[in-house]
């Protein structure tokens, strides 16, 4: 299928972009990082085209539906969102060092997707709903924002450690100032939080329309609530003294680990209603 080949190409591009960003960091060459940005843009076009082609191909097979309904599709959609959110951040903050910490997340996601069944399967009756679109899109924009936040939080921790040691040289010296990193950790979360909230609400509305219960403490629901609570704690902690910087960065990383658990762990480890079509 053409869409899968395009996604495979996207995987290579994400890998190449990650290599460029990391190499630029170590070689201190902005030119290489600029190449990384261009690769990200090409990857954005390729993956967007791949999603469109997959959508069109599903119609050609007579089972037309949005391509976000199994593990493979959700992984490529997540990587797609991370890439776009990253490009937005790079453009907004005019700093390419973030790429070395965010693009590998997109790359690893695509490699993981590559190991999964990629054929287009028809929708089981439970997923045949317009709520699917709103639910998946809101959730994944939220997840992507949290991924960016966690990547930047790692940068913050490295930079803060370096500053404590009072050495300014090396790769980490090129990072934006800690104040800017701390702010970006926070900004990404305040973008992610309303989307996660909307994702949980659309999921509840859908569950209510399909089963007559908006909340049944199923492991997926519960984990999405755990993620929500962690970020709610983060947002409240920010207002109190002493919770900027290091502790906030750690909470952001904890929040993203909970997000991964919610997104993948629940399906791979626990049982529930979101079995992603059994794949």
């Amino acid at each position: 299928m053409l869409n899968v080949r395009l996604f495979d190409l996207t995987t290579l591009l994400f890998g190449a972009a990650s290599v460029c960003y990391v190499a630029a960091l170590y070689g201190k060459k902005d030119t290489i990082a600029r190449v990384g940005t261009w690769i990200c843009i090409i990857a954005a076009v390729t993956s967007t085209a791949a999603i469109g082609v997959r959508w069109a191909e599903s119609y050609k097979m007579g089972i037309g539906r949005i391509p976000v309904t199994n593990l493979y599709e959700s992984l490529v959609f997540f990587a797609w969102s991370v890439n776009l959110f990253y490009l937005f951040v790079e453009w907004k903050y005019r700093n390419r060092t973030f790429g070395a910490f965010v693009m590998p997340i997109a790359f690893i996601t695509m490699v993981f997707a590559f190991t999964n069944e990629s054929s287009i399967q028809p929708l089981v009756p439970a997923l045949q709903s317009y709520w699917l679109h709103a639910h998946v899109i809101t959730c994944f924009i939220g997840y992507a924002a949290f991924a960016v936040s966690a990547g930047v939080a790692v940068m913050y921790l490295l930079k803060a450690k370096r500053e404590e040691a009072k050495s300014d040289g090396g790769v980490i010296g090129l990072f934006p100032p800690t104040k800017a990193l701390d702010d970006l950790v926070y900004r990404s979360i305040i973008w992610g939080f309303p989307f996660l909230t909307a994702g949980i609400i659309t999921g509840a509305a859908w569950a209510n329309y399909a089963w007559g219960t908006y909340w049944s403490w199923d492991p997926k629901e519960t984990w999405s609530l755990i993620v929500w609570l962690v970020y709610a704690a983060f947002l409240h902690a920010r207002i109190t003294r002493g919770w900027h910087g290091r502790r906030a960065a750690i909470l952001s990383i904890v929040g993203f680990l909970a997000t991964i658990m919610c997104y993948l762990g629940v399906n791979l480890v626990l049982s529930g209603l979101h079995s992603y079509g059994g794949s």
């Binding site: 009756p125 439970a126 007559g212």
Partner: protein
């Protein structure tokens, strides 16, 4: 009185405890961490199942801690109550202050305020004070909003603000959580969840409920006219095993009259008098029968038979016919039935009857030939039944929550002050100050631009 004072301070302590941010963060984290248990330990399973997985001692401990139904346990509900009390107290404690700030903004830039603000700049301009007041009032109007002017003898204060509503975002969000809880309580107290299995052609008036002792009596009847199950076709147009649709054709019968009829599928329920019926499961009623037409090659159809698997059916003047096997895709050409034909004094004959070729048996040149018309299977439909009068309250809460979060995070209460005063050297001294409730980094940039623009304003 000393005694009074102590009570007062104890009350204060309790109040401070319940309004503290520390409690909020602690409760959020405890809720998050404790919720994990219920996702690892499968909830609401029969005791025997737990005893297979865990040791007796751990089953006893987990049972004592209500870990098998933890989200409804007293301690989890207590946490939720604490959470609600905390956010309500925070609102009661802080909202009046915010209302006060909003209603009576500090419109004059006195020295105390000036010292407390991070963004302050000053410069001097030649000319008449009143002319500059007008100029800067106009400039502020363009940047933030029309300023309020306060005159204190010969000192003039300008104050403008925007995004006041952002101060209320957090309270809207907190209120939304309380509303969602109220909706959930209303649903739990006045609603119910039940289920109904209705065979095709059958109907129910009573709904057994989950957790309830007595079934709920409906004041109408629900009839299942038909249940149907369809599968996706593969690229050659043959049916696969992947289900495409579960559908129940339902009728609501009230006072002996059909008042509503709807075909429900998963994700498209039926609602009548606030009670919702959801397609949930299905199953067979009895065994399938094979429809077989008996045809006389000379004279046309003789009779139709419904064969139960393995049951010998007598055909007068011919012998017996028995359906012995069924294949959904026989030799790649769709469903077919294997029958055994027995005639007196003759060895039994086995014949495959493909559903797609009704005439194939004609070439046997027998007295009768047979054609297979398909399997008939009776089904029952499994419906979830729910009545939840609180659900719309929950949706109001959810909508408010999203609105509240967006207001709280994406709007900022921005304030700008200007103080104009005659200076000792005959010029006008201008002091500019600004503050934002959120996104201070962005406001700093905006303030810098305002600084430059305002300094460049000419007479």
């Amino acid at each position: 009185m000393a005694d009074d004072k102590r009570t007062q301070s104890l009350m204060d302590k309790v109040w401070n405890f319940f309004t503290s941010l520390k409690l909020a963060i602690t409760v959020l984290i405890i809720l998050a961490v404790s919720s994990i248990f219920g996702t690892i330990i499968e909830q609401n399973q029969p005791m025997e199942k737990y005893q297979q997985v865990y040791t007796d001692a751990s089953v006893r401990i987990m049972d004592a801690l209500n870990l098998f139904d933890m989200y409804h346990s007293w301690w989890f509900l207590l946490l939720l109550v604490l959470f609600t009390v905390n956010l309500s107290c925070c609102t009661i404690d802080r909202l009046p202050r915010v209302v006060k700030i909003v209603r009576n903004p500090k419109t004059t830039l006195d020295e105390g305020l000036e010292k407390s603000l991070g963004l302050v700049d000053r410069w001097k301009k030649k000319g008449a004070l009143d002319a500059w007041v007008e100029k800067y009032a106009e400039a502020m109007g363009k940047e933030i909003g029309k300023p309020r002017v306060t005159r204190n003898s010969d000192i003039v204060h300008l104050y403008a603000e925007s995004g006041v509503v952002s101060r209320f975002g957090v309270y809207v969000t907190h209120l939304s959580i309380v509303i969602i809880f109220i909706g959930a309580i209303v649903g739990n107290v006045f609603g119910y969840k039940g289920y109904a299995n209705i065979p095709e052609g059958g109907s129910v008036r009573q709904i057994p409920t989950r957790g309830g002792t007595r079934p709920v009596d409906l004041d109408f009847e629900v009839r299942c006219n038909k249940f149907s199950l369809t599968f996706y076709n593969d690229k050659f147009g043959n049916p696969t095993q992947q289900p495409k649709e579960y559908a129940s054709d339902l009728s609501i019968i009230e006072n002996g009259r059909e008042v509503l009829r709807k075909k429900i599928v998963v994700n498209d329920p039926l609602q009548y008098k606030g009670i919702w019926f959801y397609q949930s499961s299905y199953g067979p009623t009895g065994a399938a029968t094979a429809q077989v037409a008996v045809v006389d090659p000379a004279g046309g159809p003789v009779t139709g038979l419904a064969l139960a698997a393995g049951q010998k059916t007598a055909l007068p003047g011919y012998g017996t016919i028995t359906g012995v096997d069924y294949q959904p895709n026989f030799q790649g050409s769709g469903p077919a039935l294997l029958v055994v034909l027995e005639k007196p004094g003759q060895p039994p004959a086995q014949v495959w009857l493909p559903q797609g070729k009704p005439d194939v048996d004609r070439k046997r040149n027998d007295r009768y030939f047979f054609s297979f018309g398909g399997l008939t299977q009776g089904f029952f439909t499994g419906l979830q039944v729910a009545k939840d009068p609180g659900v719309n309250v929950v949706w109001v809460g959810c909508t408010l929550m999203v609105i509240g979060i967006i207001i709280a995070f994406f709007m900022s209460h921005q304030r700008l002050w200007i103080r104009l005063a005659p200076s000792a050297d005959g010029r006008v001294e201008i002091v500019l100050a600004g503050a934002a409730s959120r996104n201070r980094l962005a406001f700093e940039k905006k303030f810098e631009k305002i600084q430059d623009d305002f300094k460049a304003v000419s007479a």
